[in-house]
């Protein structure tokens, strides 16, 4: 397979996973989080620090490590942010995201400052029958397997009673509380779970990209992830993947012609989607699918 195509597909899966994790809190619970790039980022930085500063390259340590860090940070963020609602939640996650951005730029010795950390190779799988060193195609398959597992877990979670309670909170939180649900705990748990999956994406990303820098961590990066969720369709889980496909493919093709204008194109897409295509692409596909299947019968 053409290497740039493999690269694009891997990237789509990684950001698809990140977007799905955001969809969990944004689409299903209705929390506007602008901190997800920060969660993704701390996991990526943690992985990079493991590899570069402590020379731990075993994937089976780095992955849980990254997830753990992301989970902890998500817990802290959630604890702070869930005290307030809607617009204030958005603002707090914004502040927290920028705080992380500031932290990674400041502590140069640990995080490489504005330059970030570089030189991370494909992960070391250290398992009997697995290849010792991965090629980019090999890494793609690894990412694919991890993505499928995570997507399966998320899908199961979202269609469980817990998942339905999330939707209940989105629709009418006071009624849920009236029914006896501990909505704070549910939201908090959802936020941490979301952080764990963002963490997985972060670890995969740092291995894929070889470098992690502050730009991947700030609010503008969170905005890009939110765009993916919205374009694909919030609250549909697969919409997040579709969003990732659309945005990253677009970015890839624009990058071939006029890479410097990509943020402009992305901004225009963003504005158009918000104004015209509010439900995202997935609901349209869903309707199309229904029409097609009912035609046949």
């Amino acid at each position: 397979m053409d290497i740039s195509l493999v690269s694009l597909l891997t990237k789509i899966l990684i950001f698809g996973l990140l977007a799905m994790s955001l969809d969990l809190v944004f689409g299903y619970v209705g929390l506007w989080s602008f901190a997800h790039a920060a969660l993704f980022g701390v996991s990526a930085y943690a992985a990079a620090i493991f590899v570069i500063h402590y020379h731990i390259t075993s994937f089976w340590i780095v992955l849980p490590g990254g997830m753990f860090v992301a989970g902890i940070v998500a817990g802290i963020f959630g604890f702070i942010a869930l005290r307030v609602s809607a617009i204030y939640f958005l603002l707090i996650t914004l502040a927290l995201g920028q705080l992380v951005f500031g932290i990674v730029t400041t502590f140069r010795r640990l995080t490489g400052g504005s330059n970030g950390l570089a030189g991370i190779q494909y992960p070391d799988l250290t398992f009997p029958f697995l290849p010792a060193a991965l090629s980019s195609t090999g890494f793609y398959y690894l990412t694919l397997i991890i993505f499928v597992v995570c997507a399966f877990v998320l899908y199961t979670l979202l269609n469980s009673p817990f998942g339905y309670s999330l939707r209940g909170i989105r629709e009418n939180e006071s009624r849920m509380r009236g029914l006896g649900y501990n909505t704070w705990l549910i939201k908090f748990t959802a936020f941490i779970v979301s952080g764990l999956f963002a963490g997985v994406a972060g670890v995969l990303y740092v291995h894929f990209n070889g470098i992690i820098a502050p730009g991947d961590v700030g609010v503008m990066a969170s905005g890009a992830v939110m765009l993916m969720v919205i374009i694909g369709g919030a609250g549909t889980l697969w919409g997040a993947l579709i969003g990732s496909v659309v945005i990253l493919s677009l970015q890839h093709f624009i990058g071939l012609i006029i890479p410097e204008r990509w943020p402009l194109v992305m901004g225009i897409c963003f504005a158009l989607v918000v104004i015209c295509l509010r439900g995202g692409i997935f609901p349209y596909l869903h309707i199309l699918w229904r029409k097609v299947s009912s035609c046949e019968s």
């Binding site: 958005l90 603002l91 502040a95 503008m220 402009l264 963003f270 918000v274 104004i275 509010r278």
Partner: protein, 290 residues
């Protein structure tokens, strides 16, 4: 002692710049319920246009004027062109302004290139005043002075004019205002344009002090401005002033005595306020359900 004085004066002058930027943001948030994330980008573009005019005409006055007016025009375009279509959908409006940050930053990069630009200042403003064994730029006193005048004017507008009364009423209960037969729309548009113009104005007037304009400004200054609005309190001029001066001074003191935490002071203040006193230091108790 001199170091402290310099730090405080620098903090107050920086606070004034923040006030000028944040006041527009705060009033729009109070009345319309939307956070114009593109406000920082408007600040940036106003500055770039001001610089171009200023360096072409060698007139600082014209630079400030065109900076303010062009920023106001951009604000008008965003409000009438895009935000109007999302009436009552506040979170969508925020997303659209977010999109505009990407758009405006990239267009600025396209037109003016990646290198920072600075304005040539009239010679009377480049001198400095001795304070102890240091020298403090006259220009910063100008910023404090101008900021103070704008503050007084805005306060007067808010407290002593009929329009101000309508704005305050609109923040409390917009529905009641329209029931009383007052049309809030031209006022909200006017407020949005005024806020944007102030941002453009601030950009040029403070440019020598801020070290010029660059393409990062669209995304860097907005978060500090949002922190100012939250800390000071939404919707009131005095609140924004309080928040701006507080953050400006604390930032400068931190930069002088504890540099590593300077960057974080605004965000930490914002998080603390949101947790313990969400309406801000001097904010209005908003009836609006967020």
């Amino acid at each position: 002692m001199d170091v402290l004085t310099i730090a405080l004066l620098s903090g107050i002058s920086f606070g004034m710049v923040l006030f000028l930027i944040a006041s527009g943001l705060s009033l729009v948030l109070g009345l319309m319920g939307i956070i114009n994330v593109a406000h920082g980008a408007i600040f940036m573009v106003g500055g770039y246009i001001g610089v171009t005019v200023g360096n072409a005409t060698d007139s600082f006055f014209f630079a400030v004027l065109t900076g303010a007016v062009s920023a106001g025009v951009i604000g008008l375009v965003i409000e009438r062109g895009f935000l109007r279509n999302l009436y009552k959908k506040e979170l969508d409006q925020i997303l659209v302004t977010f999109a505009f940050v990407y758009i405006m930053t990239n267009i600025t990069l396209w037109i003016w290139g990646p290198w920072p630009k600075n304005i040539t200042v009239p010679s009377m403003l480049t001198s400095s005043v001795p304070i102890g064994s240091f020298r403090f730029p006259i220009h910063r006193f100008l910023v404090i002075f101008v900021g103070g005048i704008v503050c007084v004017c805005l306060w007067w507008l808010q407290e002593k004019t009929k329009i101000g009364a309508i704005v305050r009423a609109g923040m409390d209960d917009a529905q009641m205002v329209s029931v009383l037969g007052l049309n809030l729309t031209p006022i909200t548009i006017g407020l949005f344009v005024l806020g944007s113009s102030l941002a453009g104005f601030a950009s040029v007037i403070a440019m020598p002090m801020m070290g010029g304009v660059n393409t990062e400004l669209g995304t860097s200054i907005i978060f500090t401005a949002i922190a100012v609005v939250i800390v000071g309190g939404i919707g009131s001029v005095q609140g924004t002033l309080a928040g701006a001066l507080l953050i400006g001074v604390v930032y400068n003191l931190a930069a002088t005595y504890f540099p590593p935490i300077a960057k974080f002071t605004a965000y930490i203040a914002m998080i603390l306020i949101l947790l313990f006193r969400p309406s801000g230091l001097l904010g209005r108790e908003l009836q609006r359900q967020f």
